[in-house]
Symmetry: C2
Subunit: 337 residues, 2 copies
């Protein structure tokens, strides 16, 4: 049904449309892409492609524009991820190398990605689930309040202020801290609930109410903050592009953690580092936009996801190259720390 030349025509249409943002006609196409056939032939192929739903015309007698299905075919079979230039790679490296802590890594990453792709970049904070406990700290604030600080091996720090049900002496807090640390140090976060389950019983009775309160907050921290936090950058890049779904919707989605999560998608378990591309209507919300995302993280355990969001009319090969490269570098940085 789709011979080699028809595919070449589709590829040419996508490339031209992406770069010019105008419906592309048979004449211009035959010229620009040294297809060695006449415009009439191209027209026949276009008719076939339109029949199959890969392209469409905005109105009778205008050029053709790729459909979501057309982009999909282009991404899957007609294009290759375009590697970054050496200069870009160096820029990434130096830019990310200056990061001082996890927060900084994430902030720099998201900005870098936005600048590189000229799209909106989205980065999810490394999830706690697969991290391990590096240290638990209990800091007495006054005699009824302590601050719980949880430090993970990925450099993430979670903090909560806890109201105690009763006055607890500092020494007892210190003791509890020691117990918690000896119990949890180095353990995976997912195993924390099991490990602390019988803790209250192993401590003097007088401490139990306080311990129960602290533990409940600790567990809550693990669950609630699971992978809630997502940041974005490059919203200014939306100003130029026009979205079928209206700029407002896109901006709203960007500020909704939940929606962003859904857009970034989940790491497919078998090939976690693979690039995910969701085109237009393939997206759960925001059907007018495309998302290019991938997992990142140190070594074989993927920590979280990052990607970019833009109009369906985007340069997929370049964008995919940038996303992949940034994910690799940031994984590397995280692995080193």
């Amino acid at each position: 049904m789709l011979d080699e030349r028809k595919l070449a025509v589709l590829r040419a249409i996508v490339e031209d449309y992406v770069s010019t943002n105008e419906p592309v006609g048979s004449k211009a196409l035959a010229d620009r892409h040294h297809l060695k056939v006449s415009p009439a032939t191209v027209r026949n192929d276009m008719a076939a492609l339109e029949e199959e739903g890969y392209i469409t015309q905005p109105h009778t007698s205008a050029g053709r524009v790729p459909t979501d299905k057309g982009y999909r075919l282009f991404v899957d079979r007609l294009s290759q991820v375009k590697p970054l230039s050496a200069a870009e790679r160096r820029a990434i490296e130096t830019f990310l190398a200056g990061a001082v802590d996890l927060d900084d890594v994430v902030t720099r990453t998201v900005r870098l990605l936005a600048q590189l792709t000229r799209q909106v970049a989205v980065v999810q904070y490394p999830t706690l689930t697969r991290s391990t406990v590096r240290h638990v700290e209990l800091v007495p604030l006054n005699d009824r309040r302590v601050m719980l600080v949880l430090i993970t091996n990925t450099g993430r720090v979670e903090q909560r202020v806890i109201e105690l049900p009763e006055v607890v002496a500092e020494a007892r807090i210190a003791n509890l801290r020691a117990v918690l640390n000896s119990c949890l140090d180095g353990c995976g976060l997912s195993s924390v609930p099991d490990l602390v389950a019988d803790l209250p019983e192993r401590l003097p009775g007088e401490d139990r109410p306080a311990v129960a309160t602290i533990l409940s907050v600790l567990l809550e921290t693990l669950v609630e903050r699971h992978d809630e936090k997502i940041v974005f950058a490059g919203a200014a890049n939306l100003a130029g592009a026009d979205f079928s779904t209206g700029l407002r919707d896109v901006l709203e989605a960007l500020e909704e953690q939940v929606v962003l999560m859904r857009l970034l998608g989940e790491t497919t378990s078998d090939t976690p580092a693979a690039l995910t591309v969701r085109i237009g209507s393939e997206n759960p919300y925001l059907r007018g936009t495309s998302v290019v995302a991938t997992g990142y993280g140190s070594g074989d355990n993927q920590l979280a996801r990052l990607g970019v969001l833009g109009p369906t009319r985007m340069d997929y090969p370049v964008t995919m190259g940038a996303v992949r490269a940034v994910a690799r570098y940031v994984s590397q940085i995280l692995a080193a720390s």
Copy 2:
């Protein structure tokens, strides 16, 4: 020069223009605002106001539109801050009350403010300068690395990973932590540099290189992170409004910490809690937008600033009311914790 009625006319023009977004003419004005004079009289007054530069007409023979100078006069003399409704106040209270930590307070505040004003809200993180040290933590990550965690009385937590120049045993780290805490606990952040100045000399010689490294990072943390961090929300509210300076510029400014800082302005030392209103060209960058901001913080020491950013054509009384109210509530929340 400007009698009572001319001022009333200006007020009416501002109010009408803000609510309709269309240049307002003499007829509509005389009707809607039960000024007890004829359109012709209003026209005369308008001519005078235009002469003085308070209003202008987009083109000959269209209605009048307030100038920045006109808005300024309106804000200074012709309007009163509009208090929030009881329902809104309750909403604020319940929404902010659920915050679990400082991060959460800031996030909730900025969203709340954006929703309340239907503008872009901007909140600066409480600055460290006037806080005091609650606790310093040194967590060994491996034998060449420690994590420094600084906890302040405002609930802020700063963290840095430190590369040590040499291997340091955990016991020595623990000792150093104890020294640091006994030395700094409860002290104002601004006095930290003085307090730690002679610390290396008071410790065994073998520790000095490590201590020097740690202290330099600590000091750096105090300076660099000074009041750098700013968050915003409600970018979607920009979608409707049209900015003279182009939407792109506004979005770009929002992602530039430095620009945002300048826009929020500085707390005037004498009346820190006063509302600052910068209208259009009064702003350093982004001359097409207005900023309504104020300081917030517990008690008499102002910690940081918050405010909203919107088109010059905004409802100043309502916006000012919302900013003031939110600042008060968040100050209250911070004081309590």
